[in-house]
Symmetry: C2
């Protein structure tokens, strides 16, 4: 009997925002794998830390930041073979995923290498996008709004068109694109209905109207939400700015 592969969504960062199901599986599997940078801690492991026991085998999947942006097949080929050895030995393996495994997650690179060979289950998680709306205390989208998730690295022309076409927008992967994106939102006259959230649900979370962000850069784990719907929400954001 080969083991079962789990893609475990852990939520946005607060360990209390993992699901009961992820908690149960995390507590029970013999092997826990997680993406880790070449230096520094693994964010996914940090979220799960309160629930990992000394009896569990940990397998970091080292993904250099350079490679994470332009995924190198070799990195995931090697990691998949490592996990396959544990699965072949009959051990269940849980791959820890920040947020949700299939919402812009790197888990897909392991999934596409292993799911044909091993029983696989994805456990969905709370996305940082939902947590950001909760932190900003305003809806992501409502009624018949179109909500578009727009990655920050996209060119201004495409980003402008996607923002114009949607009733609500979440700009993810903001990071080093922050100044350019903010200038675009300002040029579109949407700053008053834009909120900024950094390291959502963690102790060091920052939540503020986009207009109030003093810095010209943002960390990788940051997001801008634009909600055009309703003058009430614009007024609320404006009031929060004062």
């Amino acid at each position: 009997m080969t083991g079962k592969l789990y893609g475990l969504g852990l939520g946005p960062g607060d360990p209390e925002l993992i699901t009961l199901k992820a908690h149960r599986i995390l507590s029970g599997v013999p092997v826990i794998a997680y993406p880790a940078p070449d230096t520094g801690p693994s964010f996914a492991r940090q979220i799960a830390a309160p629930y990992i026991g000394a009896h569990q085998l940990e397998v970091p999947v080292i993904v250099p930041m350079r490679v994470e942006r332009f995924p190198a097949q070799e990195v995931y080929d090697g990691a998949a073979e490592t996990l396959a050895r544990h699965l072949d030995a009959g051990s269940d393996v849980a791959v820890l995923c920040e947020g949700d495994p299939f919402f812009y997650g790197s888990f897909m690179y392991l999934f596409e290498r292993l799911s044909d060979r091993y029983e696989t289950e994805i456990v969905p998680g709370v996305s940082s996008m939902m947590a950001a709306a909760a932190a900003l205390a305003r809806p992501l989208a409502a009624r018949n709004d179109v909500l578009s998730i727009v990655p920050g690295p996209l060119d201004d022309d495409i980003m402008r068109a996607r923002i114009e076409a949607a009733g609500a927008v979440a700009i993810i992967k903001v990071g080093r694109h922050f100044a350019r994106i903010r200038a675009l939102i300002e040029a579109m006259g949407l700053t008053s209905c834009a909120g900024y959230v950094e390291r959502v649900s963690l102790a060091e979370q920052r939540v503020l109207p986009l207009a109030d962000v003093a810095e010209a850069t943002a960390p990788y784990f940051s997001m801008i939400l634009i909600y055009k719907g309703g003058e009430g929400w614009k007024a609320r954001t404006a009031a929060a700015t004062e």
Copy 2:
């Protein structure tokens, strides 16, 4: 001291997909409110049922289906005043929300009536959209894809434009619009990369390629996911069809 208002995201339906945080709050509050149809059970309450105790006061917020689609101010005015009485008496109140409270949720109608007067906390939940991608076993979106969430009631012209512009699409609130939406997706040549999910994460869940859906209608809790990204995923969907 007035009570605190919680908007509790409960996830897509499986009671095990609620977060540890929602579970803690749900177990501790004296008053639990939830939307309920004029006839039949409340879906939000069904999700929370395993965790509700006999000592907790339940306050159904009766929202006729007709009204849920075209929210009547009076319904939410009345519900807000009922909850305000409990909050004024010093009781914390948790409003149960299917999925995530701010992702197309009706909680916003209570939130906008009460959050200025009472301390309010939103607890994000797992969205049915993430659960649908997990059930279909393919990514919602990856890398620099634009993901657009498109409500089913939108007109064909707008829906077509939004689908064309995005790399990945989630069509929500499909329900009685199913036949029209499927015809549009077929006309756009995208059926081979479209998946259908109904009552996700529940025992009666149905997951299949859109091409395999025999019915001409769909229940309210159904969703179509389109993922254009990568021939591998198209091939996988096609293989699942055979």
